[in-house]
Symmetry: C2
Subunit: 226 residues, 2 copies
DNA sequence: CGTCCAGTTGATGTAAATCAAACCCAGTGG
DNA sequence: CCACTGGGTTTGATTTACATCAACTGGACG
């Protein structure tokens, strides 16, 4: 089963990962949910009645143009919240990459919790601001970085996710097309850039879906455009 | 004086434009500030001790790469708030385009206002969420739209800003380079695309800094990639 | 054992970048 | 008044990074 193959929970311990500590209170009001590969968690335009946290697997958040061009805004890894900051109507579609399990929280119950707990509200506000900063950095990437800079930045970002410093093994459960749609590139360009990184010895690959960082410094220099 | 030439306050009435009504309360605690052309309001990395509202002129929010590549994340028009949702450290640099006047609010006083007024907090939260949605749409633009789609989208966005429906006269106080850095294009490409829109009769220009929309429908179709 | 995808690699095309040269004002100063 | 200057704009010629098109590979699964 795919979900087993792609289960990242071991490398991203969820407990550590609920970075908004206050949100632990949420766990009491959540219910478990699982999705098959490519199933939609919600769609752009849907009413946002729930918040979610990924337990295992990965969720991609994406937007589509009428002719099928796609942009993957985020990948949500185990321990991360999906749509926690959503407006009343979802601004993007969320789909499972491989089998995925999540916890679902009712929005109105969470909102009640927030209203009752100013500390929680402040955490959420800070979280939203941080998300906004991250997304601004991604706009710089999408508008001005070269293909190799984008790929190197993406790999370093993934390596740094999940707390516990920068890990050297990077799981890549998503397809090359997903990565391309995340970085504004095509499948082929993603392949070629990863191949190039292997060629120069910055990374090695045990499979297309698991890379190992050999020269983080090199990767960093490429990401920085030096 | 540039600020006179570029003063947009007449076309963007500030009263109407403070779309978070509750924020009217802020005006009592603000002080006026003016900036010359290209002067920085704050820089990326600075402590965020103040919030601002543009009165006249325009502010650009931008991020730089070490080699000078630049991305302009936002243009802030009269009546709009700058850095209202900022984290403790500014994530981008804000600079004046032409002479600009603003109102400055002390962060701790605003924060106190927010803490004392739950309705205000909710407005701000909604505002932040809306900003996040807008920025996600911009990522789709930057990663997947063609040059002509980007330009048409940008012009329609500008035409729709400032409440009061879609206006037909679009002031463009920023340079072609600013626009290019906003859309992930070069000055030359921006020029050519605008020239093309004139050629097909979608817009007319009385000067490089003021366009008139002749065929909004056409512009919309181009923006939609049809 | 064949089918089906995702991944990979190669050949070719193209949208937009880069390089280059006018052009157009607004401001300055003789 | 008019020549001069300098920044922004515009248009043209050429290049290029990446997309597109095409073909092959290799593992997963019935």
């Amino acid at each position: 089963m795919l979900s087993a193959q792609y289960d990242l929970s071991s490398s991203f311990p969820t407990a550590v990962h609920s970075s908004v500590a206050e949100l632990a209170a949420l766990d009491a009001v959540g219910t478990v949910l699982s999705l098959d590969r490519d199933a939609a968690l919600f769609r752009e335009g849907d009413r946002a009645d729930h918040y979610f946290k990924v337990v295992s697997g990965v969720i991609r958040g994406c937007k589509l143009l009428s002719d099928g061009r796609r942009h993957v805004g985020d990948f949500f890894l185990p321990g991360e919240f999906v749509a926690l900051n959503a407006p009343a109507i979802h601004a993007f579609t969320a789909e499972a990459i491989g089998g995925t399990t999540l916890v679902r929280y009712e929005r109105r119950r969470v909102d009640a919790l927030i209203a009752a707990n100013p500390r929680l509200a402040i955490s959420l506000f800070a979280r939203l601001s941080a998300e906004l900063s991250a997304i601004r950095a991604r706009m710089l990437l999408l508008s001005r970085m070269t293909a190799s800079e984008r790929i190197a930045t993406f790999l370093l970002d993934l390596a740094g996710r999940g707390g516990s410093g920068r890990r050297s093994v990077i799981p890549l459960p998503m397809t090359r097309t997903d990565i391309g749609d995340h970085l504004g590139l095509t499948t082929e360009t993603v392949c070629r850039e990863i191949a190039q990184l292997k060629r120069i010895g910055a990374i090695a690959a045990s499979s297309p879906h698991e890379l190992r960082v050999l020269r983080g410094d090199l990767l960093q220099r490429i990401a920085d455009g030096i």
